[in-house]
């Protein structure tokens, strides 16, 4: 009895190390994190709590808030889903095939990451306007993208593409080609090989990429507001609604909607983490 007690080491916050500098670096990290991120977020939640449950519900159940939330959520889901398909295809082509311009294409994937969102916004809205390079081709077919809800999806696809490609790419790179070759020798078709061997290994990373893309799409502001029509409940996104409330000095409304957005993205990320855990368990990855 006493032996087991002695064998169990007392709980320590930090494992002992001969390296110096833990306390000061930890102190700076925590203080800076607190001042810049945690503190301000806490203030927002505190203000929300201060307005009371009734007032909070009153703000977030307004038709415009719910309508805009639906616009944001559905557009983000469309964009991330379409990009999951195209992003996987692009990542596959860039890692598996050799072709002229491959390295250039690979470097360009990060363009939406590096290009300031306002630049992307005016470029996309000019391209897809009925007189633009792409809009003029689509207009005779009766398809309108700029200043319509579809414009939001296009802008979201642009900004979220690198998140999917860059999370899936390293996994495709590390796939064991031997398994695919073995399957091929045993007579499996390329499609069977992809669906049964490659895809199950890729799916967890695809879900991670999907989650990152979704979070980015929901929060995105700059590239969307130029191409969206910004009509309340039809083509207005939640971040723009927050800006509109701030412009009218409705701080309470802006705070409540900000908290709602935070809650929604938290729930979505939680759901995707659970889905990911389930997929990993199922495929033993």
């Amino acid at each position: 009895m006493s032996a087991t007690l002695q064998a169990r080491p007392s709980w320590r916050w930090v494992q002992p190390s001969i390296l110096p500098g833990f306390a000061p670096s930890m102190a700076i990290t925590l203080i800076w994190l607190g001042v810049i991120v945690i503190g301000p977020l806490g203030v927002m939640l505190w203000f929300t709590a201060g307005m009371g449950w009734e007032a909070f519900l009153g703000v977030i159940t307004q038709p415009r808030v719910l309508g805009d939330l639906w616009v944001s959520l559905s557009s983000a889901l469309y964009a991330s889903t379409i990009n999951a398909g195209f992003g996987l295809l692009v990542a596959w082509v860039l890692t598996r095939y050799e072709f002229p311009g491959r390295r250039f294409a690979d470097a360009m994937i990060d363009l939406p990451f590096a290009l300031p969102t306002a630049v992307a916004g005016i470029a996309l809205s000019t391209l897809y306007a009925p007189t633009g390079w792409i809009g003029a081709v689509l207009a005779p077919l009766g398809i309108q993208i700029a200043f319509q809800p579809a414009g939001i999806v296009v802008a979201m696809m642009f900004i979220s593409l690198p998140f999917i490609v860059r999370t899936v790419q390293p996994v495709i790179q590390d796939l064991e080609v031997e398994q695919e070759e073995a399957a091929s020798l045993m007579g499996a078709t390329p499609l069977q090989i992809f669906l049964r061997i490659s895809l199950p290994a890729i799916i967890p990373s695809l879900l991670t990429g999907f989650a990152l893309a979704l979070a980015r799409c929901l929060g995105e502001y700059g590239s969307i507001i130029f191409i969206a029509g910004n009509k309340p409940m039809i083509s207005e996104i939640v971040p723009l609604l927050i800006v509109a409330q701030l412009d009218q000095f409705d701080y309470q409304g802006a705070t409540a909607i900000g908290t709602l957005m935070l809650g929604v993205s938290f729930l979505l990320l939680l759901a995707i983490n659970l889905l990911q855990a389930w997929v990993r368990r199922r495929h033993g990855g």
């Binding site: 390296l19 095939y97 990451f113 590096a114 290009l115 306002a118 995105e220 701080y251």
Partner: protein, 274 residues
């Protein structure tokens, strides 16, 4: 074979349509009225002010996050403590928060009705609708950039060299400057590169806390909006082309870094994906 070329074809067509067209139209529209119109829109005094403001904001925000990234990577990667993953998640938090909310937070803290609003106005200090607010909002949105590149890299490399240096009698600062910094320098540079691109291009967060006066409190991104909204399309695209060039330089440096130091940086990419 047919499958291979079809897939390559689809991927190239998709990337051309979605990435190359937007880039091409920026330069196309910027030069649509000729080179002299292009340069005269760039030398407009309001645009010069916007360039200066953008550089000042980046010159404060990037070093702030560089120092933070170095401190965070030292305590998180070199030591083993309870709650390490929670801390990493908290550092990553600004990534999943809308830039507009980042601006809103500054308004709630420093705005007239904000937490410190009365105190600030009594002491005649203006943060919102002025440079300090824009700097703080930029620091918020770029907060994780350096830390999240350096932490996985330092974790991957381990502490063997640092521990050897301690046993040989090196002081803490000597270890940092002579051993650790050279180990993580490319990861740091990579993080600073991305952090800088975002800091100079940030729009949403800065637009909430800027006074949005073209020629006074407009950064380059905000100048793009101001010009575009007042139907000066060519001038808007001329300013946008500056930012697009910044993005291209960032991409070239990034690709070069990944090519020369791919062994070091590969660990980071794999770690992030899982």
């Amino acid at each position: 074979m047919a499958v291979k070329y079809t897939l390559i074809g689809i991927a190239v067509a998709f990337l051309t349509l979605f990435l190359m067209f937007p880039l091409a139209i920026v330069f196309g529209e910027a030069l649509s009225a000729g080179a002299s119109a292009y340069f005269s829109s760039l030398t407009d005094p309001s645009v010069i002010t916007a360039i200066q403001l953008t550089l000042i904001i980046a010159a404060i925000a990037v070093p702030a996050n560089l120092i933070f990234g170095v401190c965070a990577s030292w305590c998180i990667a070199r030591f083993d403590f309870a709650g390490r993953n929670v801390l990493i998640t908290l550092i990553d938090l600004p990534f999943s928060i809308s830039p507009v909310i980042a601006g809103l937070l500054e308004v709630l803290l420093f705005g007239l009705n904000g937490l410190f609003g009365t105190w600030l106005s009594n002491h005649n200090i203006q943060i919102i609708f002025a440079l300090p607010g824009m700097v703080i909002a930029t620091i918020f949105v770029t907060f994780p950039f350096v830390a999240r590149e350096v932490i996985p890299l330092a974790q991957e490399q381990g502490n063997d060299e640092e521990e050897a240096a301690v046993t040989l009698g090196a002081s803490g600062l000597q270890i940092f400057w002579r051993v650790s910094l050279p180990k993580i320098r490319w990861g740091l540079f990579y993080g600073v590169l991305l952090c800088n691109a975002r800091a100079m291009g940030e729009f949403g967060a800065v637009s909430v806390v800027s006074g949005k006066v073209f020629g006074e409190t407009d950064t380059l991104s905000l100048a793009v909006e101001s010009l575009y909204e007042s139907y000066e399309t060519q001038a808007a695209f001329a300013v946008a082309s500056l930012l697009a060039m910044l993005a291209l330089v960032t991409l070239v440096l990034k690709a070069a870094l990944e090519w020369w130091h791919r062994d070091e940086l590969h660990a980071v990419r794999v770690r992030k994906a899982s």
